[in-house]
C-alpha cells in the first residue's frame, strides 16, 4: 500500500539553528518532555508544542538545524510529534541526528522557481506528501514539489525505527 501523509505545515525561514530549536539552558536533562515544552521558544514563544498535531510537517527554507551537535534539538522536533521535516537543506549534524532518531528529513530538489514557490507556502497550509514517489502537493496553492527520497543506510535506519534499534539488531547478529 502506498504511503501518503496528509497534514498541516509549520513553516520556518532560513538558518533556523539548534539554539533556536532548543536553548542551551534546557540541555541538562534526560527528560525529553522538557525539550518539547521549550522547542522554538525564542522564536515562537511558550507552548509552541500545543499548536502541533501529531503528524504535522516542519517545512523550512535553507540550512534548517545548523549549529550545534546537541541531539536535544532533534529530540525536541521528534517529541513535538511531527511526522517529517522538509527543507531546502539541513545542517548536516542535525540531519544525521534526525535520521538516527528514525524521523525522515527530506531535501527539496532544486528547480528554477523553487524559492518563489516556497515563499507562497504558508503556515497551516494543508500538504499531501508521497514519500515513495518523492513528491508533495499543496493543493490550495497548486504547488507541486519534488524531494530526494531517502536511500541506503539512512533508509535502513529509519525503517529500523532509529539507529539504536538498528544497532541492537546488528550487535545481536554479530554475537550469534
Amino acid at each position: 500500500m502506498e504511503n501518503i501523509i496528509k497534514c498541516k505545515i509549520f513553516k520556518f525561514e532560513d538558518n533556523i539553528n539548534t539554539d533556536i530549536i532548543i536553548s542551551g539552558k534546557y540541555l541538562r536533562t534526560e527528560d525529553t518532555n522538557i525539550f518539547k515544552e521549550h522547542a522554538f521558544e525564542v522564536l515562537r514563544g511558550d507552548n509552541f508544542y500545543k499548536q502541533i498535531n501529531k503528524g504535522d510537517v516542519i517545512f523550512a527554507k535553507r540550512n534548517f538545524g545548523c549549529g550545534s551537535s546537541r541531539e536535544q534539538a532533534a529530540l525536541a522536533v521528534k517529541e513535538l510529534g511531527v511526522s517529517m521535516l522538509i527543507a531546502k537543506s539541513f545542517g548536516r549534524i542535525f540531519y544525521r541526528n534526525i535520521i538516527n532518531l528514525g524521523l525522515p528529513a527530506y531535501i527539496l530538489k532544486e528547480n528554477s522557481q523553487l524559492d518563489e514557490l516556497i515563499d507562497k507556502i504558508e503556515e497551516n497550509d494543508n500538504i499531501t506528501v508521497f514519500p515513495d514517489k518523492g513528491e508533495l502537493v499543496i493543493e490550495s496553492k497548486n504547488i507541486h514539489l519534488e524531494f530526494y527520497k531517502i536511500t541506503g543506510i539512512a533508509k535502513n535506519i529509519i525503517e529500523a525505527g532509529g539507529l539504536l534499534n538498528y544497532a541492537k539488531k546488528e550487535l545481536s547478529n554479530n554475537s550469534m
Partner: protein, 398 residues
C-alpha cells in the same frame, strides 16, 4: 589524484570509493563532553555494556563547570561514574580546558587520524591535519559500542589564502570574510580544505578549522606544511569542487552582526554600537596568541566603565602560560575578570549570561539569537583585537 580528505579515508578503509559513496570507517578517537555525554551515555547503555576501547575515548568536562546548580552537579557525578565503570583512560576533570583545546594539545593524537567528537566544533583538530567531524549523541553511542561509523565521501572546497598574515588582521577576520563570501550553508555536506601561501601558526589554523561548521562543513582541515606530513597533502590537480581565493591584502577587521555568522561587515563600517560585555575566550578565540594580542592593547589602560570584560583561557596550560608571561596581570589591572578554563558564557549556561537588551562583543563562533541568554540580547563576533579595543572604547571599534 586524491585530496587530503580522501587520502586520510583511504588509509583507514580497504574498499575503493568515489565522491558520494557511503563507507564504513573505523574511528581512531572518540570524544564527548559533559553536555553531550548525557544522552550519549543514556543511548549507549541501551545497546551495549562495554565501550569499544577504553583508551580511545576522551571524556572532558568543560561546558558547565564548576556546576551552576544541583542538577548539573548530579549529571557530572553520573559522568564520573560512567568513566570509572568503563575504565576510560582519557578523562579530564572540569578546569583542564575546553575539549577542542585539550585535543589540540594532546600528543597521542597524530596527523592523519580520524577523530569524531560529539560537538560541532570537533574539526578544530583539522589544524593538526586530522580528519575530524562532529556528531550527535546517538551516533556517538554507536561509536562507543562499535568503534566505527559511516560517512558519505564529501565533495571538497579549497580555500586558498594568499599573502601574509600581518598584524593588520587576525585569523578570525579571515574566517568571517569566508562566511561573508559563501554564507552559512556554503560548505554544507562538504569538506573544507584551507591552504595558505605562508605557514600559519597552530593557533591561527585552529581558529579557522574550528569555525568550519559555521559554513556547514562536514570536515575542515588544513593542508600541511611540515615535511613529515607532506604525504597527506592533497595531490596536485586533485579534485576540488571549487577553489575560493582570499587575498589577505583585501581583508580588514570584520565583525559578524546579530544573529547569523554570515552577517559580516568590516568593523570600520559599523554604526556606533555600544557594548555591555566584552568576552575573550572559547575554542575559537581563547588561545595564548589571542590573549597576547589583547594584552598589548590593554596594557596600562582601563576598560570603559560601562563595560564588563570576561577573560576565559581555553585551557589550563594557556592559563599557566598567561601567568608566566604576566598577561593575566594586565587583564586584571585593566578591570577584566578571569573565569576558569572552559566554555564560559559562550552557550549561555553560566559565567556571564546576557540580560534583556544587553550587547556582547565576543571572540566566540556563534552569534545566534538568544544563545548567550535573553532573546533580546545581541552578540557580535570579532577578533581578540577588536574585542579588546571595543572594551576600551565602550563601543565596537578596531
Amino acid at each position: 589524484m586524491a585530496n587530503i580528505i580522501e587520502k586520510i579515508i583511504k588509509n583507514k578503509i580497504n574498499s575503493k570509493f568515489s565522491t558520494g559513496d557511503i563507507v564504513e570507517i573505523p574511528v581512531d578517537w572518540a570524544m564527548v563532553h559533559d553536555g553531550t555525554i548525557v544522552l550519549t551515555r543514556k543511548h549507549f547503555v541501551s545497546i551495549a555494556n562495554k565501550v569499544f576501547n577504553k583508551e580511545k575515548i576522551f571524556v572532558i568536562i568543560d561546558h558547565l563547570y564548576p556546576p551552576n546548580n544541583e542538577n548539573t552537579a548530579n549529571f557530572l557525578k553520573k559522568t564520573r561514574d560512567f568513566v570509572r565503570e568503563q575504565g576510560i583512560t582519557n578523562f579530564y576533570e572540569g578546569g583542564e580546558g575546553i575539549c577542542h583545546q585539550i585535543i589540540l594539545e594532546n600528543e597521542k593524537i597524530k596527523a592523519g587520524d580520524f577523530f569524531v567528537g560529539a560537538d560541532s566544533h570537533s574539526s578544530t583538530i583539522g589544524a593538526r591535519y586530522c580528519l575530524a567531524m562532529g556528531v550527535g549523541a546517538t551516533d556517538m553511542a554507536y561509536i562507543f559500542a562499535t568503534g566505527k561509523t559511516w560517512i558519505r565521501i564529501p565533495p571538497a572546497i579549497k580555500v586558498l589564502i594568499k599573502g601574509k598574515l600581518t598584524n593588520k588582521i587576525m585569523s578570525k577576520d579571515i574566517f568571517l570574510e569566508l562566511a561573508k563570501l559563501i554564507k552559512t550553508d556554503g560548505a554544507i555536506y562538504k569538506g573544507l580544505v584551507f591552504e595558505t601561501e605562508e605557514p600559519f601558526s597552530l593557533d591561527d589554523r585552529a581558529t579557522l578549522c574550528n569555525m568550519g561548521i559555521e559554513v556547514g562543513a562536514k570536515f575542515t582541515i588544513f593542508e600541511p606544511y611540515e615535511k613529515e606530513y607532506l604525504n597527506l597533502k592533497s595531490d596536485n590537480n586533485s579534485d576540488f569542487e571549487k577553489i575560493i581565493e582570499i587575498d589577505l591584502d583585501e581583508v580588514y577587521p570584520n565583525v559578524a552582526c546579530p544573529h547569523d555568522i554570515d552577517n559580516v561587515i568590516p568593523v570600520s563600517q559599523i554604526k556606533e554600537t555600544k557594548i555591555d560585555v566584552a568576552f575573550i575566550g572559547t575554542c575559537t578565540g581563547g588561545r595564548l596568541s589571542n590573549f597576547k594580542t589583547a594584552a598589548n592593547i590593554l596594557k596600562g589602560k582601563k576598560i570603559n566603565s560601562n563595560v564588563r570584560m570576561i577573560i576565559g583561557p581555553a585551557s589550563k596550560s594557556i592559563l599557566l602560560q598567561m601567568i608566566k608571561e604576566n598577561i593575566l596581570q594586565v587583564f586584571i589591572d585593566a578591570g577584566a575578570i578571569i573565569i576558569p578554563p572552559g566554555c564560559g558564557p559562550c552557550l549561555g549556561g553560566h559565567l556571564g549570561v546576557l540580560g534583556e537588551n544587553e550587547v556582547c562583543i565576543s571572540t566566540a563562533n556563534r552569534n545566534f539569537l538568544g544563545r548567550m541568554g535573553s532573546k533580546n540580547s545581541s552578540i557580535y563576533l570579532g577578533s581578540a583585537e577588536t574585542v579588546a579595543k571595543s572594551a576600551l572604547a565602550g563601543y565596537i571599534i578596531s
